[in-house]
């Protein structure tokens, strides 16, 4: 694999000798001149060495950033975005008369209509269920893909597929590919940020935002969303290391000096300069990460918009607000999880996996997604960011039109994804599922087309963003993917 750029070395011989001269002059005690020089050099090295430096897109981009909302567990298209009058008619009648159909965990029960009535909304007249009344107010900005399919109805592999295009773990996630291709506008913050649900990680864990065989710098960086906790792991030393914290400035002076001295005869090794520069970058991250997660400067209107004080909706609202603040500061790709992994917790499921009780579980999660995502769309618009920010809402698969008790089983045959902003033509839709929402019918599509379309909006040809790995030129879209032109504005 070739790295995006070799790190050309900017430290010329003359610089080294000047530094050595200053070192001797300063007696190794961190003279001001030496430290200033080192800082300059580090910055210069960082400029050439930062593998996350913004790179031009392949053609003019409509979107500069992506906010990806992921609803793990399997969001029911039938109870949210995919209106099925035929299912209403057939409600309570047998779904499968052959007895041969076998879902992931059950045999189909009777046809089950949406648990929430559907209404038409906006100028485009798209149907949305009453589970999501606020989001329904934004349909004129949203494009719905109703003919989504997954290769598998298993949570882990389907999560991997939705995120990386492959059902096996270990392939680079979409965020990793995007930052590999485009770098980041922000020099102070990670290029790809993940905001997990406060209940925990989604099915499959951090593999979902891994860099696979791309350099590790492209993996998603988790920013803690819970208030009062350090936003990034190891951003600061823990409080019980007070003496070490107090002595850190002196320590870092010493470190800069020994690294400079070590670099002298090794100035042709650009990795060493890059590593020195990384400590500069780290120092900047120590300032910028707390700043971006400190919401005290946000107005009351914004707090209300995201329902931050609501005990259930508030935490997700906070994730969405953080996403806006990150994108505002140039972060390229933000992924928000609306739900965590299945755990043994009773009562409400910790994600959308509503096997036992759709009303109980979707009834809980619906207002959370509705509040946060609608707030995000409104807020991005108010900040003039919606045009340049692609918002997409994914899930790993849908749910079955036949009942599983009071719940619904997994359905890899059909589900809905929506996209908004960032060059998307609002009020549109692409593809359909069949009359019951069981299988994709018109224009069946996989995550490849979603990924290809998102990359297109970012100014990247999905067939050209590739890396050679183990015998093949690998892409986010495997050997598939077509840009869905009809939903692009």
């Amino acid at each position: 694999m070739t790295m995006p750029d070799a790190f050309p070395c900017r430290l010329h011989r003359g610089d080294v000798s000047r530094r050595n001269f200053l070192w001797e002059l300063g007696g190794g005690l961190g003279g001001v001149a030496l430290m200033t020089l080192l800082a300059e050099e580090a910055r210069a090295a960082a400029r050439v060495a930062n593998p996350l430096a913004a790179k031009p897109s392949m053609f003019p981009a409509k979107a500069k950033a992506v906010i990806n909302i992921f609803c793990p567990g399997g969001l029911s298209h039938l109870d949210t975005f995919d209106y099925k009058p035929e299912l209403v008619k057939r409600d309570g009648t047998p779904f499968d008369t052959t007895g041969n159909v076998q879902f992931f965990a059950s045999k189909p029960g009777n046809c089950q209509q949406s648990y929430w009535p559907f209404r038409q909304h906006g100028q485009c007249g798209r149907w949305v269920s009453d589970l999501l009344p606020k989001l329904a107010g934004h349909v004129d900005e949203m494009a719905f893909i109703h003919s989504m399919q997954s290769k598998t109805a298993l949570h882990g592999p389907a999560m991997f597929m939705a995120n990386s295009g492959f059902i096996l773990p270990g392939f680079p996630s979409m965020g990793a590919w995007v930052t590999y291709g485009l770098g980041s506008e922000s020099e102070e913050l990670p290029a790809f940020v993940v905001l997990p649900d406060h209940r925990g990680l989604p099915p499959g864990g951090p593999v979902n935002w891994g860099a696979g065989f791309l350099p590790a710098i492209h993996q998603g960086t988790v920013i803690e969303t819970a208030e009062g906790r350090p936003p990034i792991a190891d951003l600061f030393a823990a409080e019980d290391h007070a003496t070490l914290v107090a002595g850190e400035p002196a320590g870092r002076e010493f470190l800069a000096a020994v690294n400079a001295r070590h670099l002298g005869p090794r100035s042709d090794n650009s990795e060493l300069a890059a590593r020195i520069a990384a400590y500069e970058l780290a120092a900047r991250l120590q300032l910028s990460a707390p700043e971006v997660t400190n919401l005290s400067g946000e107005s009351e209107i914004v707090e209300r918009l995201y329902q931050l004080d609501h005990p259930e909706i508030g935490p997700f609202g906070r994730q969405c607000l953080l996403a806006r603040r990150l994108v505002e500061r140039g972060v390229r790709f933000v992924q928000i999880y609306c739900g965590a992994e299945n755990t043994a917790v009773k009562k409400i499921r910790p994600n959308w996996d509503s096997h036992e009780d759709v009303v109980r579980d979707h009834g809980y999660w619906g207002p959370i997604l509705d509040g946060g995502a609608s707030g995000l769309l409104a807020d991005l618009k108010a900040h003039g960011l919606l045009d340049s920010t692609l918002v997409m809402c994914q899930t790993e698969f849908g749910r079955q039109p036949a009942a599983q008790g009071k719940g619904r089983d997994h359905n890899a045959g059909a589900f809905t994804v929506w996209m908004a902003g960032g060059g998307i033509k609002g009020g549109t839709s692409y593809g359909t599922s069949d009359e019951l929402g069981f299988k994709a019918e018109e224009n069946p599509t996989h995550c490849y087309d979603i990924h290809a379309t998102a990359l297109q909006l970012l100014g990247v040809d999905h067939t050209k963003l590739s890396v050679y790995n183990n015998g093949i030129q690998r892409r986010l879209t495997d050997v598939h993917g077509h840009v869905i032109e009809s939903i692009i504005g």
Partner: protein
């Protein structure tokens, strides 16, 4: 995508034309049926057969046109066949498509499609020729055709047989040559007008070697000894000493486990523990330390259980095949066959990809959906390799067949003794009536069926395992049981009265429930809603699913009333009692469910129980008048998520105190014997287990068209790739056993003629010793991989490897003692000019600077601070808290105690939740096969080394060590610190700066910053 689709359509169209002959007019008269008697005695191929094939078939299957890609005028193509496979089966004219077509009377099949049919004599001639073995002497034209027809990709260097190239002479008399490696390297350098760098100084060499071979820094005492050793072979002795260290196996096992993507959990959504996977990890360490021949190393990992089933060492080696991820939900949990087939196909893909990339550098995975795009590997060969492993599944298993047999025999002996003792006890005391047996449709004496049950909605006997949520329930409705022994069953709901018997008995005190029910009342554990893993059949220390114990499974909400009067008719028991143990059959820690026991409607026991509560013993005397015993389970008011109540050994027993004295004595003896044997059984240690392959007869394997297991094509026999020159690629037919298939592949991989295996291995060694391989894609030797920088050296090393008995240590010694390895990487004369010619140092005009990988950095930190716990082998250390759940939860803790200070190779590796600290430092995810570590430089790494709690605590431990070993003097402390971490003395300037820091900010700050120094993390 488009081009592939077109290819398929094109292929399909060609098939249609050939199969139907639609566009081709058919001849009128069918040929006469020939007989063998028509055939002449001896056949002259050139005179009789070749003209026939060329003349009658050549228009469509000749030099100019090849319908169905079939050509019959030249040997290699005629014998190979066309799109539908071979048309000539030597010795079997009846099975040869050629004969079928020329004798066919079907318009759509017969050949030739137009013109005259072949005469009976011609047909007989061809039949006789095929039956006599289809001998076809290769003519000059055949040979030329064969050679010009050859796939040029077969000429790729990696497939060519291994030759032993001559060693080139050194470029000059004074060239620094220590062994033949240097002659290869230096002659190539000279060709580019480059020179080898001088040898590095001894401190640099000992630090380089120590990290390279052991993954640890050299202790200052060893450094001093080496620097002072004036003997001419001081360096060679050092290499030998390091290779003899047990840390060598620990270091190099890390490399192999990267390639095997080993971890200690399954991965995927429900990332469960593999508590026994470590035995394979230990095997790798031991195999390396004992320098097991590499061909045996591979052979055992692929087929150790076949070649030596009674040798635990060989069997555990096969843990290799099971090392990768495995999807529990897809392979076990789901009820969908389609999903299972998909998950299984992925499982086999992982296995064969691991085997072929690790041993042969063949990216076989690229041929799963179509022929390999770059390498000459047809899709069929991918499935031939799939067929080799199609009988293999991953699971915990015994480590040797002999140990398993021994255990089974001992257990059978004890169990027989227990049965005898129990019969004696029962004869003397009266056999108890087992209530679980009654639930299973029995008489309480063992006639019931395990796993059977009673539906609480209807009272009907149920014999199916698959029950989940019970629909259409009516609470508090009594249904008579399937036998008179069960008066009634019901689904209870309080808080009002709940009827429990058909005689009108009601009970009070049952709480309000969720008005739902799960599973039937069972003779055995009830089904669990999420996973069998969350079922515990143990209550306290006793597993009630084992031996003669029984479980009466009662999932909330359900109740059952036994008719004691009917039971009394089965057995006359003196002073009967209801005895047993009640407990929670789930694995969640929270209090799960409520149970109630009533005698004739009177509450005699109740409780709310969860997993931690163990078993609650029940021992309730039954008055002679007692008629009904009622057991109830309810959901504790939090829905029926996990509410399985188990009654262990729920029995009506007689009281021995009521027996005459002589029978009491006999009973005491039998009871004592029973207890002793049961204790023996309990104490019997199960044979060792490890996570490895369990093999059975492989199912038929077919090509999965476009990689989809639901659209299958031709059957495929076990085999391997045919690209490698001079090796047989087919391992027989479908009848070949699993063991023979794997053994055949292992033999193929380790055959001395296999050109890939030794080349791939020596290149891996080179990669780890120099930071880059001679081929810079160590697991991909195909056309898309890197070209060897020194092809002759690569082949010479491979030949040398075989000549040295496949000894890894011999190769390490050879490489490490070369001048090439010992070169400087800093202060190289003429470096700027050399870099202008060869910036990437592919020609090795100096040694490469190396960065410590994540594990070496952690291990070096522990070694420097003195915390390193040298304990080898055994289960891995777990630096996380584990919470059992549907998807288990892993929460990392700061490793700040000796148990967690073992070397990183012993880390319990969790797939779903990678270790954040190590991952930041580029430790790869074990989902990936990792032939070469990526190195990144990030701000997050700086933060991790500066602030991670582990690093800061280690800085404190190191400071304490320095104070202990160097006293209070900062100068001595700094000197000792430099010696431990950087393997050198600080110079005056550094010393002054460091001492100033110690005085200003304390010794731990100095330690902390030295961990962050480039010099600590990089090797010259």
């Amino acid at each position: 995508m488009a081009s592939r689709r077109q290819w398929w359509i094109g292929c399909f169209a060609a098939c249609l034309i050939v199969a139907s002959g639609l566009s081709l007019p058919a001849s009128a008269a069918p040929p006469a049926t020939p007989t063998a008697a028509d055939a002449p005695a001896a056949i002259d191929f050139e005179r009789q057969i070749r003209p026939l094939l060329a003349g009658r078939c050549g228009d469509c299957h000749g030099p100019d046109t090849q319908e169905s890609h079939l050509r019959l005028d030249v040997k290699h193509r005629a014998l190979k066949g066309g799109d539908f496979g071979p048309v000539i089966v030597a010795g079997k004219s009846g099975e040869s498509e050629l004969i079928r077509r020329i004798t066919s009377t079907d318009d759509k099949k017969q050949m030739p499609p137009d013109g005259d049919r072949l005469s009976a004599a011609e047909i007989a001639l061809l039949q006789a020729w095929i039956d006599s073995g289809a001998a076809w002497p290769e003519s000059e034209a055949d040979r030329l055709a064969r050679e010009s027809d050859r796939d040029p990709r077969l000429d790729h260097w990696a497939w060519q047989p291994l030759a032993r190239p001559a060693v080139p002479p050194a470029p000059a008399d004074d060239s620094p040559v220590r062994n033949d490696i240097d002659r290869f390297i230096q002659s190539k350098l000279a060709a580019s007008k480059l020179f080898p760098a001088p040898e590095a100084d001894r401190r640099t060499l000992v630090r380089r070697l120590s990290f390279d071979l052991l993954g640890l820094p050299p202790p200052p005492e060893d450094v001093a000894a080496f620097v002072a050793d004036e003997s001419p072979d001081a360096y060679e002795k050092l290499v030998d000493r390091l290779l003899a260290s047990p840390h060598y196996g620990e270091r190099w096992a890390r490399h192999w486990l990267d390639i095997a993507h080993y971890a200690d959990t399954h991965g995927f959504e429900r990332d469960q523990l593999r508590p026994n996977a470590w035995r394979y990890r230990d095997w790798v360490i031991k195999a390396l330390n004992t320098d097991l021949r590499y061909d045996d190393f591979i052979r055992r990992q692929i087929a150790g259980d076949v070649v030596a089933p009674d040798d635990a060492d060989a069997v555990i080696a096969t843990g290799f095949l099971a090392a990768g991820p495995w999807d529990f939900v897809g392979q076990v949990e789901t009820k969908s066959d389609v999903l299972r087939r998909q998950a299984r196909a992925d499982d086999l893909d992982d296995m064969i990809t691991q085997v072929m990339t690790s041993t042969c550098g063949v990216t076989i995975n690229c041929a799963r959906c179509h022929d390999h795009k770059l390498d000459p590997i047809p899709q069929r060969e991918y499935y031939a390799l799939t067929a080799v492993f199609a009988g293999v599944k991953r699971q915990d298993r015994g480590t040797s067949a002999a140990a398993d047999r021994q255990y089974a025999q001992t257990k059978a002996d004890i169990t027989a003794g227990i049965t005898k003792a129990r019969v004696d006890v029962h004869t003397l005391a009266g056999k108890p009536i087992d209530l679980a047996d009654i639930v299973g449709g029995g008489n309480g004496r063992g006639t019931g069926k395990k796993g059977f049950g009673i539906d609480p909605r209807s009272g009907k006997a149920r014999d199916t395992k698959a029950e989940g949520f019970l629909g259409d329930i009516k609470v508090n409705k009594l249904s008579p049981g399937p036998t008179p022994l069960v008066n009634a069953v019901f689904i209870p709901n309080g808080p009002g009265d709940v009827p429990v018997s058909t005689t009108g008995l009601v009970v009070k005190g049952i709480p309000e429930t969720s008005v739902a029910a799960w599973d039937v009342i069972r003779n055995g554990p009830v089904n669990q809603q999420f996973s069998t893993k969350l079922v515990s059949t143990k209550l306290g220390e006793v597993d009630y699913a084992k031996d003669s114990h029984t479980i009466l499974g009662l999932h909330a909400n359900a109740g059952i009333t036994f008719d004691l009067a009917e039971i009394a008719k089965q057995a006359r028991l003196a002073n009967p009692r209801f005895r047993g143990v009640v407990g929670y059959g789930g694995r969640t820690a929270e209090a799960g469910a409520d149970f109630f026991v009533f005698i004739d409607g009177e509450l005699v026991s109740q409780g709310r129980i969860g997993f931690d509560d163990g078993g609650i013993p029940l021992d309730i005397p039954l008055p002679p008048t007692a008629r009904f015993l009622t057991l109830v389970a309810t959901d504790a008011g939090n829905s029926i998520g996990m509410d399985q109540i188990f009654f262990g050994d729920a029995r009506i027993e007689g009281d021995p105190a009521a027996l005459p004295p002589d029978r009491q004595a006999a009973l005491a003896e039998a009871t004592g014997r029973l207890e002793k044997l049961e204790a023996e059984l309990n104490a019997l240690k199960e044979p060792d287990k490890f996570f490895g392959p369990v093999a059975g007869q492989p199912p038929t394997v077919k090509v999965n068209i476009r990689g989809n297991p639901e659209t299958t094509g031709d059957e495929v026999a076990p085999g391997t790739i045919s690209a490698a020159a001079g090796l047989r690629a087919v391992f027989g037919d479908e009848a070949v056993s699993d063991g023979d298939r794997r053994k055949a592949l292992a033999d193929w991989i380790t055959a001395p003629q296999n050109p890939l295996t030794p080349r791939v291995l020596v290149n891996r060694l080179w990669h780890y010793h120099f930071g880059a391989g001679l081929v810079d894609t160590p697991s991909d030797f195909g056309l898309g991989g890197g070209k060897p920088s020194h092809p002759e050296l690569l082949d010479w090393l491979a030949a040398e490897f075989i000549a040295r008995g496949w000894s890894l240590k011999a190769m390490h010694r050879l490489i490490c003692t070369s001048h090439t390895y010992r070169q400087r990487c800093v202060d190289v004369p003429g470096a700027a000019a050399a870099a202008a010619i060869d910036a990437d140092n592919r020609l090795l005009w100096r040694q490469n600077a190396r960065r410590l990988d994540a594990e070496s950095l952690r291990d070096a930190t522990l070694a420097v601070t003195g915390c390193l716990n040298p304990e080898m082998e055994g289960p891995g250390y777990r630096d996380f808290d584990y919470e059992e759940a549907y998807a288990p939860v892993y929460r990392y803790v700061t490793p700040d105690k000796p148990d967690l200070w073992r070397r990183s190779i012993y880390r319990f590796i969790v797939r779903s939740t990678p270790h954040a600290f190590l991952t930041t430092l580029d430790c790869p995810n074990p989902a990936n096969l990792t032939p070469a570590r990526l190195e990144t430089t990030t701000a997050l790494q700086s933060l991790a080394l500066l602030n991670n709690d582990f690093m800061l605590r280690q800085a404190g431990h190191w400071a304490a060590r320095l104070e202990k070993e160097a006293g209070d003097d900062p100068v001595a402390q700094v000197r000792r610190g430099y010696a431990l971490a950087l393997v050198r003395e600080p110079d005056e300037t550094e010393l002054a700066a460091a001492v100033a820091l110690v005085k200003r900010a304390g010794l731990p700050q100095f330690c902390r910053m030295l961990f962050n120094a480039n010099e600590f993390i990089y090797l010259d």
